[in-house]
Symmetry: C2
Subunit: 437 residues, 2 copies
């Protein structure tokens, strides 16, 4: 059968990895796809830079818009990143009748609704497996593997950079700044790491997973986002002493009152499977009614893993080239006219347990004041850890773990506790989740 012809926008980490993988496994891929998949054209920013031996048979086009309109290309893979010109190129490709594959989570999170609508009108496929959790086929799993289930929730470690930093803080006892600098030195964090450590990248991915899981349009703007920048080594350590590990989780959960969508550092019981996921690895835990809890674990970034997902999408599209568009797997798992905008619960109304750390004067009665405030707010306490004050110090650290409680009640309690004269500075609060339901 004729080769399927791919145009690559971008030959960086992911684009270069995709070119390499298609060449290296070309024979096995053709045995699976039923026909060869060949990169015929590419476009990059700097056409002068050498691109390695695999690029020898690829025609470089100076203008990426020429590529997306090229009559001899069947599928365009957008591996540039960022919003523009990626968005304009993807839309142009779609309007030119090309199928599209992208690894761009920011683009899908912000403009997915628009892109899928354009693609539906044009009758083309859009693959974005590489946008979430690298090579783990989590989009396919939610969209197809669990298609018979009502998905109740999911929780994921979906940003490898943050997970690497948190793992280093725990294992090597590093503070945040040192762990970040290490990650940058090793290439696990970018020069500007904000998207990763502030939770934005995880929120992009979470909004994609939630749309597919629950059958609703993308709603990145409604994700509650907190990153790991403010975390102190002390809290990582105390969490460990109490039997917990700190992970940056993306959590999406259906509740009767609305959908929870949140990214924040979370204490997880040490024995929980997600707590065992260390370093740059990603993992997603899914709760669904027929299957129960299932977990998907693997490399979340890097040239090979991300190319693995890009190529899987290319093969899917190659296989389905003759399918009537109405019968394709819907972009967001549910048919476009059957998506439902579900109410998103404001973080104030979310219920979780909490870890609270206070710095208190070491004298009788202080704990009584604190626990009275908590009782007033109907917050019950699961555990208290009070540290000995260092010699000569008048203040001690007190750590409280609460039972599940509505967030607003905790915020009010914290404000009152911080106002106590016996309490020094801010109360540190972190959410704690057993990921049961």
């Amino acid at each position: 059968m004729n080769a399927v012809r791919i145009g690559l926008l971008g030959l960086g980490t992911v684009g270069g990895g995709t070119l390499e993988l298609l060449a290296r496994n070309g024979d096995e891929i053709a045995r699976r796809a039923g026909r060869p998949i060949r990169v015929t054209h590419a476009s990059v920013r700097d056409a002068g830079r050498p691109r390695g031996p695999q690029a020898a048979n690829v025609q470089l086009l100076a203008d990426p818009f020429e590529l997306v309109h090229h009559p001899q290309i069947d599928i365009v893979a957008e591996l540039i990143g960022g919003i523009e010109p990626a968005r304009a190129l993807v839309l142009a490709a779609i309007n030119a009748g090309k199928h599209v594959v992208t690894a761009n989570k920011a683009l899908i999170a912000h403009h997915g609704n628009e892109i899928f609508e354009a693609a539906r009108r044009a009758g083309v496929a859009v693959g974005f497996e590489a946008a979430v959790a690298g090579g783990i086929p989590i989009i396919k799993t939610l969209r197809e593997g669990l298609a018979g289930n009502r998905i109740q929730g999911l929780a994921g470690i979906i940003n490898g950079t943050s997970n690497y930093i948190l793992t280093q803080m725990r294992d090597a006892g590093l503070d945040f700044a040192t762990a970040l600098a290490d990650a940058q030195r090793l290439g696990y964090a970018e020069a500007d790491p904000s998207f990763d450590i502030d939770g934005v990248d995880a929120a992009h991915k979470l909004s994609i997973l939630a749309a597919i899981a629950f059958g609703m349009p993308l709603c990145f703007d409604q994700v509650h986002v907190e990153g790991i920048r403010g975390l102190s080594a002390m809290d990582v350590d105390y969490a460990g002493q109490l039997g917990y590990r700190l992970k940056l989780l993306g959590i999406a959960r259906r509740t009767e009152r609305g959908v929870q969508l949140r990214v924040h550092p979370t204490l997880l019981p040490q024995r929980h499977l997600l707590a065992q996921v260390d370093g740059v690895i990603n993992a997603v835990l899914v709760d669904s009614d027929a299957l129960g809890q299932s977990l998907y674990y693997g490399a979340g970034a890097g040239a090979g893993p991300t190319a693995s997902a890009v190529v899987a999408d290319l093969i899917d599209i190659a296989r389905a080239l003759t399918i009537d568009p109405e019968h394709r797997v819907p972009y967001l798992a549910f048919h476009h006219d059957r998506l439902q905008a579900l109410p998103i619960l404001p973080i104030d109304a979310v219920e979780t347990a909490f870890y609270l750390r206070l710095t208190a004067l070491d004298r009788p009665g202080v704990l009584a004041d604190v626990t009275r405030i908590l009782a007033d707010q109907h917050i019950s306490i699961e555990a208290i850890l009070q540290k000995e004050p260092p010699p000569g110090e008048s203040h001690v650290a007190v750590i409280l773990l609460t039972h599940t409680v509505r967030e607003r009640a905790v915020r009010e309690a914290i404000a009152r506790i911080e106002a106590l004269p016996s309490i020094d500075g801010r109360v540190v609060s972190l959410r704690l989740d057993h990921l049961e339901h």
Copy 2:
């Protein structure tokens, strides 16, 4: 769009679960599949038995062959089990132009090559996601999610009954017979548990996974199979003392000399992810060149999880009803004329590490005799654990962990060790694997 009409062969655990799931999640399923999926007909052995409220709208046919030929059925789901009449019914359905879904691992392992050939000629789809690892979409993952990868190997806990028994032996210190009786009482093991505890069920599943992963025809007969029936509580305990857990693993691995295909109890380092998989849960670890190691974890049996996989297959087929058969995902991942019969390595030639337990006279020189025999066979020792003899006992248990070695060398060493006058009875040998490569 018109409903897709399903005929169910069997309304037992899986058939009943499938009927229930399609009814309960009918709305979400139609939103995903683009059309309703409806069970219109069923056939069972005992037509007199009551089948619950969901069966009220299903027409029961006394003759299952009438069902597979019924002109108003689009997809036949074979959920009877066993070889006959399941095989005859599946072939009849295929020859009548019906798409088929089955949960029957024994049938696919033994007759898959014949079934897929018939289906290819008839141009129909055959889904068998439910045949391996229950609701975990591992077939889809290997066949589609990792389609860009060269898969080097996989290792799985793919029999929940055995894993439950091994977990109980470890956690509750039970012997094998008691743990088996417990599992039977709780419904985790059948009255005749041989397929599960002798490794046959795991071997059925492993042969399916290996075919899909490596692109070769099914070859169940060439799987090396050992079960857990002979395991002693003592070895579970010693393994724990040495930092290992015993798991019944199915392992498929490409090596330069041939493909390893084996099911046997295996010592795994306690910290390995697969070692954490307890109870009736299944998990599969996949090694592939682009993604690296990835893991898939979830419920491997039961009405809900198995129905989850059956329904996912039904939805896939419903979506693809209009696709040209040449463009469907191939049954065994690779196109039928691109499968390659790979040489399977005989177990004698497989290389792994070993756990050896001997019962030796407690006197000087015995260990020297044993280690000399091992040295003669070029077997190097990683660790030795020698227990104190109980008071008044003349024999001690000695446990040796070897480095990786060819199996034949170990068998020869064991024969020589057993012939030593200072050694009492048989040497217990178990394979040990770090699942790296």
